[in-house]
Symmetry: C2
Subunit: 329 residues, 2 copies
């Protein structure tokens, strides 16, 4: 692989001139430019990012931390991040942390090691303390999940309001016994969505019953099934369920069907995220839609601004309740 030296030699100019051509400096004669471009062509030369990055001490790589690529919720967000990044001359490094601190450590080091210019974290299970520490020295943005006590800029939706609206929708349908399938409340979004759930119940003078609130440690289908199994065992069965994630709701639906019960006639069901599969279930799932693509674009924009030392403010985006068969009696 040819380097800049050989190109310079072949073109009969200095390396500086080649560099100028590469970086589109205006001071190069059309004639010289042509000579250099010909040499580049002939030698099949490709500039080494390594040399350039070392010199500029930037990598133009953005790290994106997600807990698991299996969760379809992240897909569209990542598309938004990627499109925005590429438009701005950045590439993204997708890091499936598996919520594993060791993997996380490796990726954090990439930033310290100058192999990446910044981080977008979407992992609720990330070590917030570490992340806040890193953020003192390196550009970091949080997307979807964030640390309310920290100082890292974030983009997210109003989780409490979204949950409130979802539950209110169930109440308006006449439900009085509404269960909540929540994830681990050490995550902010889980606490916020629970707050929205309680807010709606309170507003309509419905009691908040611990027996109808189930917590699960993971978001995979099976945990939704497990949650629903438990809820169906309570002596007074709920007539509606609000689940903080579509994957959990889909598991719950499976379990309800397995008990020969019908949705929505016996139990109405609302999910969260509007993953594509939520429209393939039978019945289709009422759910809260987040502007995922936009969220990704926004996060990438914020990070790039931060890398360029500009001011960055946190952003709250809109959401939407999508009513489908699982709540349409």
């Amino acid at each position: 692989m040819a380097n800049i030296q050989e190109v310079a030699q072949k073109a009969g100019v200095s390396v500086a001139t080649v560099s100028r051509v590469l970086n589109q400096h205006p001071t190069v004669t059309a004639k010289t430019r042509l000579k250099v471009e010909t040499a580049i062509e002939e030698l099949n030369y490709e500039p080494s990012m390594l040399g350039r990055n070392l010199r500029n001490s930037e990598s133009r790589l953005l790290l994106v931390l997600i807990p698991s690529i299996s969760n379809p919720f992240y897909t569209e967000i990542i598309n938004g991040i990627e499109d925005t990044a590429i438009t701005n001359g950045y590439n993204i490094l997708l890091c499936d942390t598996d919520s594993n601190p060791q993997r996380e450590h490796i990726y954090f080091n990439m930033v310290k090691n100058k192999l990446a210019d910044g981080i977008i974290s979407m992992d609720p299970a990330v070590d917030m303390e570490k992340l806040n520490g890193l953020a003192m020295q390196y550009p970091i943005i949080q997307c979807s999940e964030y640390d309310e006590k920290g100082t890292i800029p974030y983009v997210t939706i109003d989780n409490q309001l979204a949950a409130y609206r979802a539950v209110k929708h169930l109440i308006k349908l006449g439900h009085k016994k509404i269960a909540l399938i929540n994830s681990d409340e050490r995550f902010l979004y889980a606490r916020e969505r629970r707050a929205g759930y309680e807010q709606a119940l309170r507003e309509f003078n419905l009691p908040i019953q611990e027996k109808w609130i189930y917590h699960t440690n993971h978001l995979e289908f099976e945990f939704g099934q497990q949650a629903m199994r438990k809820l169906l065992q309570t002596e007074e069965k709920p007539t509606a369920v609000f689940s903080v994630s579509d994957t959990l709701a889909i598991g719950a639906l499976k379990e309800i069907n397995a008990h020969e019960l019908n949705v929505p006639e016996d139990i109405a069901l609302v999910g969260f995220d509007k993953i594509s599969f939520s429209n393939m279930t039978n019945p289709t799932l009422t759910t809260v839609s987040q502007p995922m693509y936009k969220m990704g674009c926004t996060a990438a924009d914020m990070l790039i601004r931060k890398i360029h030392n500009k001011d960055v403010e946190s952003v709250i985006l809109d959401h939407e309740l999508v009513i489908r068969e699982s709540t349409m009696g």
Copy 2:
């Protein structure tokens, strides 16, 4: 951020010694090592990969090209790749090409630019000609989909045999009118799976009917629905359907249900991939399971061997037909 110079100065040694400590050379005295380590600690020093990589002309980054992270099929493969990569001191760069040649180009350049040491391609829509060209100069492995005419090592399963077994399973159940929902036959796996479908029909003297073979350009659910809609319009409806992907099969199932037909009583259904959703549908989906994690590990191993200039041979892994409700009358 401190550099190796400052560490050397603080420790009262040369940069070479610091480098030796960093790289665990055995020739360093315990005492010197301690001095250096203390200095590193105090300065909060992190070696710059950029400098190291430039010097060694390697990045220890592996590129993984996938057509779309939304397809759950790739999830487990990527986990395998990632685990193997990390074990060997490599990190992976996940590239969602969206089957977009422009994005592809960017990622190809990363290898040319020394920002990545090699590529694992899982994109069926990749420009095979370009890929083969690149492979002359850079380490490349294909995973799952490959080019039978090319020289790039690959890891995959026997698609024809897998399809043959799936269709034979339907025939053994008594089905004589078996439809095929295939993807675009410009992809090898699509041609191979069709060959398996035809092989099974031929073996049992069943006619191959073009009206029961449907091609779709994409793998998303909606395209499965569309395919099934068409198949249900044929004057002689099939009693069984083999779909080359679970996502398509799930769409087909949705459509069958919409027509008030039952699976498997009216129409039996077999998918391919065993994605996690395939167990959440009602009924659950009979499907072909690929050893995805192992496939990922193998691909990463092969690539790393190739990077180290070792010989690499293509690998065919085993598959398994998982019989579930959609074919259990």
